[in-house]
């Protein structure tokens, strides 16, 4: 067949070619419209999308300010830490290596699986956090397994560090990721989700001062989320350093003196209300909150029967025992029932309202004047005084000295304590006050229970003649520097007669310096005044703590101030089940006062410091 030889009429086919041409033209027109629409009409929109694809901003967390003691020593610091994350685009290969990851990083495989599961529904640019605060071993493991485990990355993050660990843990508090509740509150209106904020103590109260301004890094990433270049970065602004009124040396002395006993200690300057030391035991280590604390660890802390999270200095109330006798004395003197030469007779016990009330000394103190009653803590003397005063007068003066009320300290969760009165009993217990109950209150038992901080403030206030300065951890100067105002009134006044102050102070001096119950608190040359207290453990407590022999012991108190004539430091120490106040609590106050006194005398003689430093070396000058 020779195809060339056909006679053909091409007219018909030719007539159809223009239609093919029209079809071709319309194809090109459609496509032209397509690129016109995308590139010219909607260019802006797509440029934005392309930028969003390309550019990722990551926050650079600002380190919080340091927390310093009154002399500038560091209490809370920051340290850089590495968090190990995995970029999600490399998931499949890494998910097959979970065993290697688990053994290499000493992690639970189940935890890893749940972590991968948790992130499955979250946006893919969020890296999965595998391990926080990784150590050198982890780092070298990652470096040596880069090829098998693609997508692993270390992110630096400033982490809160508490170099003194449990020291002043309750006062300093701890930090954590902001909670929903905190976010909703006005207090944290400057925070955003994911922020690390103070959760307790000073960290929380002064969060705003301590918080820095987060920076931001704009980076170019590729489609796998890998950082290709840094476009722009705004460096974070470190938070302000906050100077506390705490004196690290006094704090250390108190912590050391406490040993492993439970209880609380607080020392403050009665002239200003500045807190010099605050101890609560048992304590916790705030470092463990600095990284995401595990649920198990948290539950252990919260459910610990010893309650290590409780700040016993301000959040717990205890029967004051004989410490309360000082407030009885104040009431008696102010009311004119007592005078300096008033005497009573102690036979070792007394019968009142058909019940026998015992003194501490079985054989009795014999004839005692007011001073002897305080120095030797004679119960019978105060039973009779209590009967004469009646509960409501006692309550009036005790409340005047700030008992049963919050002090207004700048720490969260302060307890009121309880100073009972007949009106209180009617209101709360819906019952009348029995006169017999006054007798228990007279020696600091029964309903009365106080927080260590209000007791310390009251003693300091007594020394100043009735001026009760509000305790605080940040000086008003420092607060002013950060343009903040104190949240509470700076003082309350409850004027006491000069003779009252003189007489009570004389008694308190005797307790320490005349071989009274508190002689172990004495600091030679410093005229320490104070009162011991020993309160019986309430019967209901016995059941809970039956496991430990310790916990049957009496609670020990010592509250005092020094020096006698112009008080500079006041302190309250409470030792749970410590036994007698004079044995368990007074030595702790002694330690704090001794350190204070040593520092004070040293600073007056500046040479002494250099002498001790150069001990054994011949002095040149």
């Amino acid at each position: 067949m020779d195809l060339k030889e056909f006679y053909e009429d091409k007219k018909f086919v030719h007539s159809r070619i223009p239609i093919v041409r029209a079809a071709a033209i319309s194809v090109f027109l459609i496509l032209m419209v397509g690129i016109w629409n995308l590139q010219l009409l909607r260019n802006k929109h797509y440029v934005e999308l392309a930028e969003r694809n390309r550019i990722r901003s990551t926050p650079l967390a600002a380190p919080r300010g340091k927390i310093l003691d009154r002399n500038g020593q560091i209490l809370v610091d920051n340290r850089p830490s590495f968090t190990l994350v995995v970029m999600r685009d490399n998931l499949p290969s890494i998910e097959n290596s979970l065993d290697l990851l688990a053994t290499g990083l000493k992690l639970d495989k189940g935890f890893l699986q749940s972590q991968f599961e948790k992130y499955r529904n979250l946006p893919s640019y969020l890296p999965i956090i595998l391990k926080e605060d990784i150590n050198k071993e982890d780092l070298s493991f990652i470096k040596s397994h880069r090829l098998e485990l693609p997508g692993l990355e270390e992110i630096t993050f400033p982490r809160r560090s508490y170099p003194e660990r449990q020291l002043a843990a309750h006062l300093l508090g701890y930090v954590g990721e902001i909670s929903e509740k905190q976010l909703a509150s006005e207090e944290f209106d400057y925070s955003k989700p994911g922020d690390i904020v103070g959760k307790a103590g000073v960290e929380r109260v002064y969060n705003q001062i301590l918080t820095g301004i987060d920076g931001q890094k704009k980076v170019v990433v590729d489609s796998r989320g890998k950082e290709v270049a840094v476009l722009d970065s705004v460096e974070p602004v470190v938070g302000n350093d906050l100077r506390l009124t705490i004196d690290l040396d006094i704090q250390r002395a108190a912590e050391r003196a406490f040993g492993d006993k439970a209880g609380a200690a607080i020392a403050l300057d009665p002239r200003t209300g500045e807190i010099l030391a605050l101890v609560s035991r048992p304590a916790f280590d705030p470092n463990s909150f600095a990284s995401r604390i595990s649920k198990k660890e948290w539950d252990e802390l919260i459910n610990d029967p010893k309650n290590p999270m409780q700040n016993r200095a301000i959040q717990s109330r205890f029967p004051p025992g004989s410490v309360f006798k000082i407030f009885m004395t104040i009431a008696g003197l102010q009311e004119g029932i007592l005078t300096a030469d008033y005497t009573d007779y102690c036979t070792g016990s007394t019968v009142m309202y058909g019940r026998v009330f015992h003194c501490m000394k079985k054989e009795g103190h014999g004839r005692v004047n007011l001073n002897q009653a305080i120095v030797h803590s004679c119960n019978v003397f105060f039973y009779h005084l209590g009967q004469k005063l009646g509960i409501d007068k006692i309550a009036y003066y005790a409340q005047g000295m700030g008992l049963g009320q919050k002090t207004g300290v700048d720490l969260p969760g302060e307890d009121t304590g309880l100073m009972p009165s007949s009106a209180w009993k009617k209101r709360v217990l819906k019952a009348d006050w029995y006169a017999g109950e006054t007798i228990s209150v007279a020696i600091g038992q029964g309903y009365v229970s106080l927080t260590p901080i209000q007791t310390a403030r009251a003693f300091g206030g007594l020394a100043l003649g009735g001026i009760l300065k509000t305790p605080h951890t940040v000086s008003y100067d420092e607060l002013g520097h950060w343009r903040q105002k104190p949240k509470a009134e700076i003082e309350t006044r409850f004027e006491l007669n000069e003779e009252t102050v003189e007489t009570v102070t004389r008694g308190l001096w005797g307790v320490v310096n005349e071989w009274g119950t508190g002689h172990r608190a004495a600091v030679p040359g410093f005229d320490v005044c104070g009162k011991t207290g020993t309160s019986q453990v309430v019967a209901k407590d016995v059941k809970i703590s039956a496991e430990s022999k310790d916990e049957f012991g009496d609670n020990a108190w010592f509250v005092g101030f020094a020096p006698r004539l112009s008080a500079e430091i006041a302190a309250a120490v409470f030792v749970e089940h410590g036994g007698h106040g004079g044995d368990a609590a007074a030595p702790i106050v002694h330690e704090m006062f001794q350190v204070y006194y040593d520092k004070k005398t040293k600073s007056k003689e500046p040479h002494q410091l250099s002498m001790t430093q150069e001990e054994g070396l011949p002095r040149v000058n």
Partner: protein, 365 residues
């Protein structure tokens, strides 16, 4: 001999040759740009080799009188069908379908690209032998079988996209030979039925592609990703483009299959609307030039060959660029002359060679 050479120089279509070469050069530049951060294969160098080989094939395809080629078309057709069958038996899978033949362990190409050439020639021969205006039912059936056998074999791979590229050959061929309106209506009804029935036989990934085409944002990181990223690349190119090698979508790897199926996205992103429109115009000139060649062809056979080749090239352009700008679903159909790939480059140059072949023999000597 000298006369022969002057015939080549005088009647060779320099216009189409230069248009095609410019597109191919743009392709090489943009393939280089799209793969500059790839390790291993240097695709643009390979593409240059393919283009050189393609030009040689083009010269071969235009040198042998198309009448001679068509005389031998039964052999081509049988070889083509056997090649498709061999793909089904021993081809290896590339992204879900068996459409590649491997020789000695390396991919040697997609035979379906070359099968189209045989089908164009076979259909041209069949249609030019028909003397009457308008096709009869029997003729339509026979013609459909010529195209339908390879389509069926390609569908078995299964490669829906490639199978579809055969359809315009038949459509254009039948249309030129004359289709009565009732047949057009029948084809319309039939295609609706095929689409309906075919839906149930689609693989999950194929259905997914169609869903995603209709609404890419429903799965922006999954199946819709390609379409969205391609539109972002094209759209963000703007009027002037981001510059060669500067396309962020390309460079940072957001654009998938960027040196093959989505090469036009790269062009649009880096060269902007001006570049993309220029490339579109180059294609347009090739197509209109070819249609003019069909008008001046010596015989109906020439017309059928040229317009068969045009229909294949045009359909590829429509599907590929339509996909890039989001008008068409995602299919693995390359863009002639621009996409990286040996089979596509070679078959396109052979088609262009056939078109030039017809032009060179437009006069009866």
């Amino acid at each position: 001999m000298f006369g022969k050479l002057s015939f080549y120089i005088k009647d060779f279509d320099w216009f189409i040759f230069l248009l095609a070469l410019s597109i191919a050069v743009v392709g090489v530049v943009e393939i280089h740009s799209a793969t500059q951060y790839n390790k291993g294969d240097r695709f643009y160098v390979k593409q240059i080799y393919w283009i050189i080989l393609g030009l040689i094939m083009m010269v071969v395809a235009m040198s042998i009188d198309y009448h001679t080629l068509v005389e031998n078309v039964p052999y081509f057709y049988v070889v083509a069908v056997l090649a498709l069958i061999s793909v089904l038996i021993m081809g290896h899978r590339v992204s879900g379908s068996k459409s590649w033949i491997s020789v000695g362990g390396t991919s040697a190409g997609q035979p379906s690209e070359f099968v189209k050439i045989a089908v164009v020639l076979a259909l041209a021969r069949f249609l030019c032998e028909i003397r009457t205006e308008y096709l009869t039912a029997g003729e339509i059936l026979k013609g459909s079988c010529i195209v339908g056998l390879p389509v069926f074999l390609v569908l078995l791979q299964p490669d829906l996209g490639s199978a579809l590229t055969f359809v315009p050959i038949a459509m254009v061929g039948f249309f030129l030979a004359g289709l009565k309106p009732k047949w057009i209506v029948l084809f319309a009804i039939l295609s609706v039925l095929v689409v309906g029935l075919g839906w149930y036989n689609l693989k999950v990934y194929q259905k997914e592609r169609i869903y995603t085409f209709l609404e890419p944002e429903r799965d922006p990181l999954g199946a819709g990703y390609h379409s969205i990223q391609s539109k972002i690349a094209v759209g963000s190119g703007g009027l002037w483009g981001k510059g060669i090698g500067e396309g962020s979508q390309t460079k940072l790897g957001f654009l998938p299959e960027r040196h093959t199926d989505f090469i036009f996205s790269v062009v649009a992103e880096e060269l902007g609307f001006l570049g993309a429109a220029t490339v579109l115009c180059l294609y347009f000139f090739i197509v209109t030039r070819s249609i003019n060649i069909a008008l001046t062809a010596r015989d109906k056979l020439g017309i059928y060959i040229v317009l068969g080749a045009v229909s294949v090239i045009l359909f590829h352009i429509l599907i590929n660029i339509g996909m890039v700008v989001g008008f068409m679903p995602i299919t693995g159909i390359p863009l002639p002359l621009l996409s990286y790939g040996g089979s596509s480059i070679l078959s396109t140059f052979i088609f262009l060679g056939l078109i030039i072949n017809v032009r060179m023999r437009r006069y009866v000597y």
